[in-house]
Amino acid sequence: MGERDQMLISSTSDLWEPKSRRNFLKLMAIGGSVVFLPGVVTACASLGNIHGGNARPDHAGSGGAGPGSGGTVTIDFAKGDVAVLQFAYALEQLEADFYTRVVGAFGGSDLTAADRGVLADIKNHEVIHRDFLKTALGSNGFSLTPTYPNVNFSSRASVLGTARAFEDLGVAAYNGAGQYLTDAANLTVAGKIVSVEARHAAAIRRMISPHTGDFAPNAFDNVFSPAKVAGVAQGFIVDHLAFANAPSTFVQGPNNNG
């Protein structure tokens, strides 16, 4: 039939390209195989263990739509600081939605009372971050639809594992985006948010592994490029994230892994 029965994905950005994404979905439909090369597997692994407890597929919020299967949302870095704030807004939408669902599922979950107190606070913060950025962006804002493949909102392990991934990603994203801001006032605001995300990250990690050093796994936090962050975030967003006029240079942080 002229169709490949196997396709190679060497990076998550391959999935952004319309042709390969369509092919990917087509292959899944006809029972073909997709080989994810190490870079993609690493990106997925960086999410940590999101398959806790009795994991079951849950595309909550997406009506079953898979990540990246929706319409394209383009962040145009020619807009300067606005693009960075749009990027932050995308992540805060994801976090706000996630924690709102977590709180909504408290009744059926094995989260302790102490867990719930922390998660309710975090939900409040992320909603406030999201709504602040929405106000700041005005007509430059947009809505994204999250999706949560294989997240079990009734499982403490699944919820905390996913939360850890989001918080660590948010820290790395803000740390990596700082270099692209040109207005010191915007850098200060981003700074005000990232330290709270880091407080969240430490709390979640402590809940997963108390009495250990896991609350802060490195002396230096990650500094991720927008492309790297988008590659991970795309796994939880129905809309297809795209960049226009993406920055051509990225200055690494001390971990040299951005």
């Binding site: 406030i128 200060t188 005000k192 709390a203």
Partner: protein, 273 residues
């Protein structure tokens, strides 16, 4: 500037910095933005303590800004590194259940000292000498390293970590001309916030700061939390965003606030021997 500051400035300040003070006076005369009072900065690299910072809403960031921030950060990291090194020594106050937590923090602060030292040297600067510290603040605080004084140790730990977060936050705007140093500073700043969150939990506090609540710390620690009650971001009062989302308390928790170099110096100075 009044006469006394001018006199001090003439004898102690780097000429380049003095020139910027004069520019600043012109700015004010021409109706430039109002700022908090100006205080003088000691010549770079000679003594690790700065009495204050020049307003950074007016001056473009320069390499001397970057070096000044690095030296200031190094001072704060020296303080933390020594605090945790002494606290984690055998016979100290930390219960065995939390020994890993504080060994982790200690190791991080030591790594921060090493990194900042290396960057300063790479830029041709001389790292400020580590000062002598007095963690009893001349007897105002019980010995935090005595085996029975874990709560004192924890209190100072929280004070230093929350201060460090706000200190870095107040300085990153001066690093925009050097993206490598900016990225490094951001990567340290967020780790200090992780430390703060963890230590606050060990003190029975939330990982985040509510209003200007110092969370049971002694009164001398209040300056560390003043300003955290702020609900205005980017010129917008966000109070109503707390509706259904934990109220104004949550709005204050959702954002950490910067401290100026002057404010941080005032907080830290009592712990210099």
């Amino acid at each position: 500037m009044d006469n006394t500051i001018a006199t001090y400035a003439a004898s102690h300040i780097d000429p380049e910095v003095l020139g910027r003070i004069n520019e600043r006076n012109v700015e004010i005369a021409n109706g430039g933005p109002a700022t908090s009072k100006l205080t003088a900065a000691l010549a770079l690299g000679s003594i690790p303590i700065a009495l204050g910072a020049l307003a950074n809403d007016v001056f473009a960031q320069t390499p001397s800004d970057v070096m000044d921030v690095l030296q200031f950060a190094l001072l704060l990291e020296h303080l933390e590194a020594e605090f945790y090194t002494r606290g984690t020594q055998s016979g100290g106050p930390i219960p065995s259940s939390e020994s890993v937590v504080f060994a982790t923090i200690r190791d991080h602060e030591n790594a921060h000292v090493a990194a900042l030292t290396q960057v300063i040297q790479a830029k041709g600067g001389t790292p400020g000498a580590k000062p002598a510290f007095d963690f009893t603040a001349k007897g105002a605080v019980p010995n935090p390293f005595a085996s029975g004084n874990y709560q004192v140790f924890l209190a100072l730990s929280q004070a230093f970590e929350d201060t460090g977060v706000r200190a870095y936050k107040g300085q990153v705007g001066r690093l925009m001309s050097d993206k490598q140093v900016l990225s490094a500073a951001l990567s340290i700043h967020s780790v200090e916030a992780r430390h703060a969150s963890m230590v606050r939990y060990l003190r029975g506090q939330k990982g985040w700061i509510t209003g200007d609540d110092r969370g049971g710390l002694p009164a001398f620690a209040q300056p560390i939390y003043n300003g955290e009650e702020n609900v205005t971001q980017a010129g917008v009062n966000l109070s109503t965003l707390g509706n259904g989302n934990g109220g104004v308390a949550s709005v204050t928790e959702a954002f950490d606030e910067p401290l100026t170099k002057e404010q941080v110096t005032a907080i830290v100075t009592p712990f210099l021997a």
